[in-house]
């Protein structure tokens, strides 16, 4: 686009700033667009100067981000096995406990996470009661680590111990794996910090019944295509984070026949079928590892400013970028939305869990426009759901191809959160999520919307600016 070309073209103006020039454009019949301009980074000069420092690399950044988005889109995901964590998760030992969110010491964890760990230790047989379990947890003999570091994710407390069954997902495009526990269902469950006998018994049932049956069924099926279920479910009112009814039903439909064909007793088969059927959030523990799988395949792309992980441990919110494995953390926000009867906002723990991996991969809150039913949880109107889905496009580097939202004319969902765009536009990713009671073991007390803290993105930007030179 050269100067001589400009001289021979019709002027098409973008007016950035004073609206008083508009009428002069109109008087002359000039084709113009007036920007709804806001100072970038909310006028924060420090951030602006960081953005400026990065500017010379914008070409490389764009290319890298495109590469990341392509890889994520290309990833396939098949459920290929259901095995115990110690058998499949890398670097898992009998004394390793994985948790959601960025790394955190036991003493700093919130109630639900500590409660879940106590339950897990008892489930593993490493302690016989709560007191023993607590002492053991504090003793230093247990290795705690982020599930993310082991290619795994888990909702809410996200606790994974050695004997727990995990879904094994495989991406045949890049050859990587991801893992996630089986969803226990609603009510008093481990992921909300409950650790009573009822909880442990259920965990045992999942290990001894559901795991073997499902594993053989999946082998018979030669793997279940998880990505394809998500694609269909998005057209059926699910967003695969807070609303998983359709996807769970589709999964059951895929797997039921094979379950029947397995070599196990009728009791075990029907137990497994009913277990899946009765849990309308079953699929969350499959959509999350799909996202993890797809995003992991794009890791270690130099220069990229795309976010490949968003996660919370109940205290901090952490993000990771595609070009490095560093965590950028800041205190997590509280979820805003509707409380279940009997609970108030004071009862809620801060945002917790690995489930924000769904938004990181362009579904969940980013697909809200296709799941208007979710809106009840946020106390809003359907139009807001549409607006959020559209707005996310302003902070991502690209968009999905096959994940589309029918009510928005099959608009694809936004993909590839770019920290530069987040900082510049001051628009934060929107996350749809549940609220846990701050006391261990009580359970879910509400659901709503939450944003990551801007500080995470600012820290990531500072670090990036330093590193890129």
């Amino acid at each position: 686009m050269s100067i001589s070309k400009l001289f021979s073209e019709t002027l098409k103006v973008v007016n950035v700033g004073s609206p008083s020039f508009k009428k002069d454009f109109e008087t002359q019949g000039l084709d113009y667009v007036h920007l709804e301009w806001k100072p970038p980074a909310s006028g924060d000069l420090k951030l602006l100067s960081l953005l400026n420092q990065i500017r010379p690399y914008s070409e490389q950044i764009e290319k890298a981000n495109e590469e990341v988005v392509s890889k994520i889109k290309a990833a396939e995901a098949k459920l290929v096995a259901v095995k115990q964590a110690k058998d499949v998760i890398p670097n898992m030992t009998s004394h390793t406990i994985l948790h959601s969110g960025p790394p955190i010491a036991f003493d700093n964890m919130v109630g639900p996470m500590q409660g879940a760990i106590i339950g897990a230790l008892m489930y593993e047989g490493l302690a016989k009661d709560e007191k023993e379990a607590t002492l053991l947890a504090k003793s230093g003999k247990i290795t705690f680590d982020s599930a993310h570091h082991h290619q795994a994710v888990g909702p809410m407390a996200g606790i994974i111990s050695a004997s727990m069954p995990v879904h094994v997902l495989y991406n045949e495009i890049h050859g990587n794996y991801s893992y996630c526990t089986i969803n226990e269902g609603l009510g008093k469950v481990l992921r909300y910090g409950a650790n009573s006998n009822e909880v442990l018994d259920r965990l045992k049932f999942m290990e001894t019944t559901v795991m073997p049956v499902l594993n053989e069924a999946v082998e018979l099926a030669k793997g279940i295509d998880i990505k394809s279920i998500i694609t269909q479910a998005l057209h059926m009112g699910d967003e695969c984070h807070n609303r998983n009814k359709a996807s769970s039903a589709l999964f059951l439909r895929e797997v039921a026949g094979y379950i029947v064909q397995t070599s196990f007793s009728d009791e075990m088969k029907s137990g497994t079928l009913n277990f899946i059927k009765n849990n309308e959030h079953y699929f969350l523990n499959l959509s999350m590892p799909y996202c993890k799988l797809a995003l992991d395949s794009a890791r270690h792309t130099p220069y990229s400013t795309v976010v490949v992980a968003m996660s919370r441990n109940g205290v901090d919110f952490g993000i990771q970028l595609a070009h490095s494995d560093k965590w950028f953390t800041a205190p997590a926000n509280y979820v805003k939305g509707l409380m279940f009867p009997g609970f108030t906002e004071d009862d809620a723990a801060p945002d917790i869990g690995d489930s924000a991996i769904t938004e990181t991969c362009g579904i969940g809150g980013f697909a809200m426009g296709g799941a208007p039913a979710i809106v009840q949880f946020v106390g809003g109107v359907v139009k807001q759901a549409y607006d959020y889905s559209k707005e996310m496009h302003e902070i991502t580097s690209g968009k999905h191809q096959v994940f589309t939202l029918p009510p928005l004319d099959f608009m694809p969902t936004a993909l590839g959160i770019d920290i530069l765009k987040v900082v510049e536009t001051n628009i934060l990713p929107i996350i749809n999520t549940g609220m846990a009671h701050k006391k261990a073991g009580v359970g879910q007390v509400g659901a709503g919307l939450v944003n990551p803290p801007m500080a995470c993105f600012e820290k990531a930007l500072e670090d990036y600016a330093k590193g890129v030179k």
Binding site: L6, V16, L35, E36, P39, P40, N52, D409, E424
Partner: protein
């Protein structure tokens, strides 16, 4: 290859039909596109130009016939035509009015080619970078942009063969369109590059007044010719104009540049294929370069450019008989104490030019735009002696609109000068055109009357000399503005320099 379509009961008004035809033809690069109501006569006509199809036989006069001739088959042309006719955008119909928040959004949707940026200086550079990254030219109206950013932006722009007009660029005329503060002038063959907004305005309106026209008028911002920036944009613009077919004469306008920059410019213009007129106001250039003409006033710049283009002008730097008579009348009514010129300006460069002209003609003239030590006006708020005040200077405009936008700011000062017994002439400039106040003369007239009355009560006669920088095509209308002033006894000058000469004559200055 040809194709046809009928739209039944199609009542599209003619302007829509026409604009659709023009834009679709361009967008799809068609050989032809005709759309007519399906009347018998029009059917005959389409047949005679070979754009008839038998599906047209059944069309009624209330239907629209569309005939298209394409270079190669274009699928979906009908939909595109229908969309444009019904004014639909090709994005989500859900958005009835797309809101653009960022430059890249706008660029993607509309393929814009120039960004006009007037946001606060601290953010302006960032926006300008974004525009350049999106391959758009930039007009940077904002000031308070750092020198480093100016250099960075211009370097990037030059690399990408894009224009960065500014920072602090208030005037440009590109492809006949006035941007920010500019006058409506005829299109023609004189191209200008200026480091000054009102300077550019002055030269373009004089050119227009005497029958010439402007091909392009590029503003480069007030600091382009400083040592640090090195005249980057001016040099680039000179190249652009020398390659531009429409430009036959090039005019360069600026306050005196740094020596190193002047050298670069001289080197550049030595070997140009077109005549160049250079106006650097106070700077004295003792060079003799073929086809390069050095002048020291904006008026002479315009005159020279016109002359090179084959247009005649009267000698604008002399006072004609009619004006002489008016001047003599004024002189007769003066009392002894009145012997000073008070210039109250909205345009900074016009102030500087007036200073330049009057310096050699009257004793001890001062101004708040002066660079020479002995001409600096110590307190711009108080006038004494011959003084020229630029009311657009920062000291006056903190928290207030610029006098070109809000001329009321000057009114109090006019009264102040009227009360001063040494005031003989009050010199005023009025800028018309885009961006300026809708009636700068009208809003000042009452004050002129009041000033005259104040002086009269004291048995003094005040002379008002005014120059209206504008054209008849400007909304505020030059003729009307001048007439209003004449009615109130104001002497109208033909150019800004001319106004200075008249003022000088009235107080008995040297010729």
């Amino acid at each position: 290859m040809k194709d046809y379509e009928i739209v039944k009961n199609a009542y599209y008004d003619s302007v829509t039909l026409m604009s659709t035809t023009v834009s679709i033809k361009k967008a799809l690069n068609l050989k032809d596109l005709v759309m007519f109501m399906g009347t018998d006569m029009n059917k005959d006509m389409m047949e005679s130009v070979g754009l008839y199809d038998k599906k047209f036989d059944d069309a009624t006069p209330n239907d629209l016939l569309i005939g298209i001739e394409m270079h190669e088959t274009i699928d979906g042309w009908v939909d595109q035509v229908l969309d444009k006719l019904s004014n639909k955008t090709n994005q989500n119909q859900d958005q009835s009015q797309t809101v653009f928040k960022t430059i890249s959004q706008a660029k993607q949707a509309k393929d814009s080619n120039i960004a006009i940026i007037s946001v606060p200086g601290i953010y302006a550079a960032n926006e300008a970078y974004k525009a350049l990254e999106n391959n758009m030219h930039v007009m940077l109206f904002s000031d308070n942009v750092s020198v480093e950013d100016e250099i960075g932006l211009k370097d990037l722009a030059i690399k990408k063969d894009l224009l960065v007009m500014g920072p602090d660029c208030g005037t440009a005329i590109i492809n006949g369109m006035g941007l920010c503060f500019a006058n409506q002038v005829s299109k023609g063959h004189i191209g200008l590059v200026a480091a000054s907004g009102t300077g550019l305005q002055e030269v373009t309106v004089i050119i227009d007044r005497f029958g010439g026209g402007i091909s392009q008028a590029i503003g480069v911002g007030g600091r382009d010719l400083s040592e640090a920036v090195g005249g980057k944009m001016m040099l680039k613009s000179i190249d652009a104009l020398s390659e531009d077919d429409e430009t036959e004469v090039i005019v360069l306008i600026s306050k005196p540049p740094h020596k190193s920059v002047l050298d670069k410019i001289l080197t550049k213009i030595k070997d140009l294929n077109k005549p160049v007129v250079v106006c650097l106001l106070d700077a004295v250039v003792n060079e003799n370069i073929k086809d390069v003409h050095f002048v020291s006033t904006l008026t002479e710049a315009a005159q020279k450019a016109l002359e090179l283009g084959g247009f005649k002008t009267p000698d604008l730097m002399t006072i004609d008989k009619e004006t002489e008579t008016l001047i003599e009348k004024e002189q007769l009514l003066k009392v002894k104490s009145q012997d000073k010129i008070k210039g109250l300006f909205c345009g900074g460069t016009l102030t500087a030019e007036t200073l330049s002209v009057l310096r050699g003609k009257v004793h001890d003239i001062i101004s708040n735009v002066a660079k020479k030590k002995d001409e600096i006006m110590i307190n711009p708020m108080e006038s004494h002696g011959h003084n020229l005040v630029d009311l657009g200077d920062d000291v006056f405009t903190q928290g207030k609109p610029h006098p070109m936008i809000e001329p009321m700011i000057r009114l109090d000062r006019i009264i102040q000068e009227a009360k001063n017994p040494e005031t003989s002439v009050i010199l005023l400039d009025f800028e018309l055109g885009l961006g300026s106040h809708e009636d700068p003369v009208g809003v000042t007239i009452e004050t002129i009357e009041e000033a005259l009355a104040i002086a009269k009560k004291d048995n003094r006669h005040l002379s008002f000399v005014a120059y209206v920088c504008g054209t008849n095509k400007d909304a505020q209308n030059l003729e009307k503005s001048e007439a209003m002033l004449k009615e109130h006894g104001v002497i109208i000058a033909k150019t800004n320099a001319h106004a200075a000469l008249i003022a000088s004559k009235i107080v008995g200055g040297k010729l």
